[in-house]
Symmetry: C2
Subunit: 112 residues, 2 copies
């Protein structure tokens, strides 16, 4: 654990892909099997499997084997990592230009 921001990076990269985001958002309405997920998407079933593997590696989903079926559900871990990172960012962002934002500061000096 470099800092925990590493898992946020992985999760961020995983959700950058539109198809992956679509699958993930689909899981919001509850756990679903792979085939079921594949049926609602334009890409092939193996592609879905690969995407789910990425999401799983990022801690965004969790799978449970039930017979030959494999049911995927949302894992809050990944989402939590992003949220933590985001909150950290927010702090810096506000600090960097909060309500005491003075444009004067920009063209006043060339710093050092």
């Amino acid at each position: 654990m470099t800092k925990g921001s590493d898992s946020a990076a992985t999760a961020l990269a995983a959700l950058a892909d539109p198809t992956r985001r679509q699958l993930f958002e689909r899981l919001r309405s509850g756990p679903r099997a792979v085939g079921e997920l594949a049926r609602g998407v334009t890409v092939s079933r193996p592609a879905v499997s690969q995407h789910l593997a990425v999401l799983k590696a990022a801690g965004l989903v969790r799978d449970t084997a039930t017979g030959t079926r494999r049911v995927y559900e949302i894992d809050p871990k990944g989402l939590g990592a992003i949220r933590a990172w985001l909150d950290d960012m927010w702090g810096g962002a506000l600090e960097s230009f909060g309500d005491e934002l003075e444009k004067e500061e920009l063209n006043k000096k060339d710093s050092e």
Copy 2:
């Protein structure tokens, strides 16, 4: 505006790149000029310019021309878009397996 989740998608994709994230995080400590940003990174200055353009398109940064210098600062718009999307996701995630999480439901029936 499909729903506003579109801008979240762009911002998410922008922050998926490590170099871009590094630049963005660097801006947390205050506005900086392009050359200054380029100096702290392994890639070339033009690469930095390109990355900043992507971040700008995603509403994550804002630039101000000061003479020949171009100062970049964090724009809360993009970060806000991600946060909104994330919050929306959280709702679904909790709903999908909140504290009433019953594994029974998984292997009970094959749905329809």
